[in-house]
């Protein structure tokens, strides 16, 4: 986990946001409240439940079709994740899936993923991962999830007073580079946000982290900073990503960056292994490293909470 409070408290910014992070056994809950940092202590689900307002879930990196030693049954752990979502006492408004739905973009993998994820009986807003657009022209992904989207599959929608933007940063990648949004998408983003008031909370979601987590492994987006430039005037920006199969969070000014766990297999912490490939862990540890994230927005008191819940532990 990294945290950047650059410029904080030096009086040069009009930041209304303070952040407070608390780690607990079941997940991470952090909270922002107008000017006053608040610690919530131990995280449990009841904390989330007493909050009113918009709650949605993020799942990521299902990799349906993956059957290697790091998790021979990625389908099974996705089923477990969906089972946990179904069992939530208070149902979220919808889900976002931040890509790598499948492992190899095969029709049967998309079918299996749909069959499992639809059991949650929630609307799901997808963005593709690089594993979902392996086939030529990304035909399979676009047929299933691309309806109503622009360009390579980007789009926006509003829910509960929050503006959501789904971005695609896994197409037309350049040799030696990382994730990429491209000119067309950046132009669209600027147009999409035009007319939104600065007080509108914005959630950007995309597969590869929009911030540079670890350049050596390509964990970042070449032109991600340009997307954030467009959002400079907004008071509350939350960036939700997947791809790196672990929880990581950074707060920079009024922007919160957060990555979710995979439901399929863990990946090593940046630089801690020879490569970012699937990490084999002890059987009884696997489910502590897989999971989903829940995000709650409550307008008025500028409160925002992200809770990462592992499948076990």
């Amino acid at each position: 986990m990294t945290s950047n409070n650059d410029g904080f408290g030096n009086g040069t910014t009009r930041r209304k946001v303070l952040e407070c992070m608390t780690w607990a056994g079941t997940g991470l809950l952090w909270m922002v409240s107008g000017g006053v940092p608040r610690s919530l202590g131990l995280v449990d689900q009841s904390v989330a439940q007493e909050k009113q307002g918009l709650t949605f879930l993020q799942i990521s990196d299902s990799h349906v079709g993956f059957d290697k030693p790091a998790n021979p049954n990625a389908k099974g752990t996705l089923e477990e994740a969906i089972g946990r979502i179904k069992a939530l006492p208070q149902q979220p408004s919808f889900m976002i899936h931040t890509g790598d739905i499948t492992h190899l973009s095969k029709p049967a993998e998309f079918d299996d993923a749909d069959k499992i994820i639809s059991q949650a009986k929630l609307d799901v807003h997808y963005v593709p991962g690089e594993h979902d657009i392996i086939d030529e022209e990304a035909k399979l992904y676009r047929e299933r999830y691309g309806r109503g989207s622009k360009g390579d599959g980007w789009y926006s929608f509003d829910a509960g007073g929050v503006h959501f933007v789904g971005l695609v940063n896994v197409k037309n990648l350049k040799a030696g580079g990382m994730g990429s949004l491209g000119e067309d998408q950046l132009k669209w983003l600027a147009g999409d946000l035009k007319g939104k008031t600065a007080s509108t909370p914005v959630v950007l979601f995309a597969h590869i982290p929009l911030w540079v987590v670890y350049e050596t492994w390509g964990w970042g987006t070449d032109d991600g900073a340009r997307a954030l430039d467009v959002l400079k005037g907004f008071g509350s920006v939350t960036v939700l990503n997947g791809h790196i199969h672990q929880v990581m969070q950074k707060v920079e000014g009024n922007v919160v960056f957060h990555t979710a766990r995979s439901t399929a297999f863990p990946q090593p912490a940046p630089g801690s292994a020879p490569s970012p490939g699937p990490m084999k862990v002890a059987e009884d540890k696997l489910r502590t490293m897989l999971g989903v994230a829940s995000v709650t927005f409550k307008r008025g008191d500028q409160r925002l909470a992200i809770i990462d819940t592992p499948l076990q532990g």
């Binding site: 290697k68 030693p69 790091a70 492992h103 190899l104 973009s105 690089e130 594993h131 392996i134 990648l173 350049k174 040799a175 030696g176 580079g177 990382m178 350049e215 050596t216 492994w217 390509g218 020879p274 490569s275 970012p276 490939g277 699937p278």
Partner: protein, 116 residues
């Protein structure tokens, strides 16, 4: 080699195949291990067939920067071969993980000073 040539003919402009590792002789190999092409820079004579092998648990591709060649996705232990007939320097990368890059240098066969 015959398999390669047939596939070439059938696949029109497709100068590549994903094929099981058959009993081919003198394979010039580039291994993919831990998200790295190895050797990262390889020098061969014109006419040489280079075969990439993916040893990772994650799929990769081999894509020329100038689009001279591009493999289909290679899952674990799958291969991709390409025959380099024209001398020159070919930079390539994995289109899924673009930080993975490599170069094939193809030398002309006529030049007597050509060495590896």
């Amino acid at each position: 080699m015959r398999v390669l040539l047939m596939a070439f003919a059938m696949g029109a402009a497709l100068a590549c195949v994903l094929a099981p590792l058959a009993a081919q002789t003198a394979i010039v190999e580039v291994k993919i291990d831990n998200f790295v092409f190895s050797p990262e820079r390889l020098t061969v004579k014109a006419g040489t067939t280079v075969t990439w092998i993916n040893h990772d648990d994650i799929p990769h591709t081999v894509a020329a920067k100038d689009r001279a060649f591009k493999s289909k996705v290679m899952d674990s232990d799958e291969l991709f071969s390409f025959t380099f007939s024209t001398p020159g320097e070919y930079s390539y990368f994995c289109s899924l993980h673009p930080h993975m890059t490599g170069t094939i240098v193809v030398e002309g066969t006529t030049g007597s000073s050509a060495s590896q």
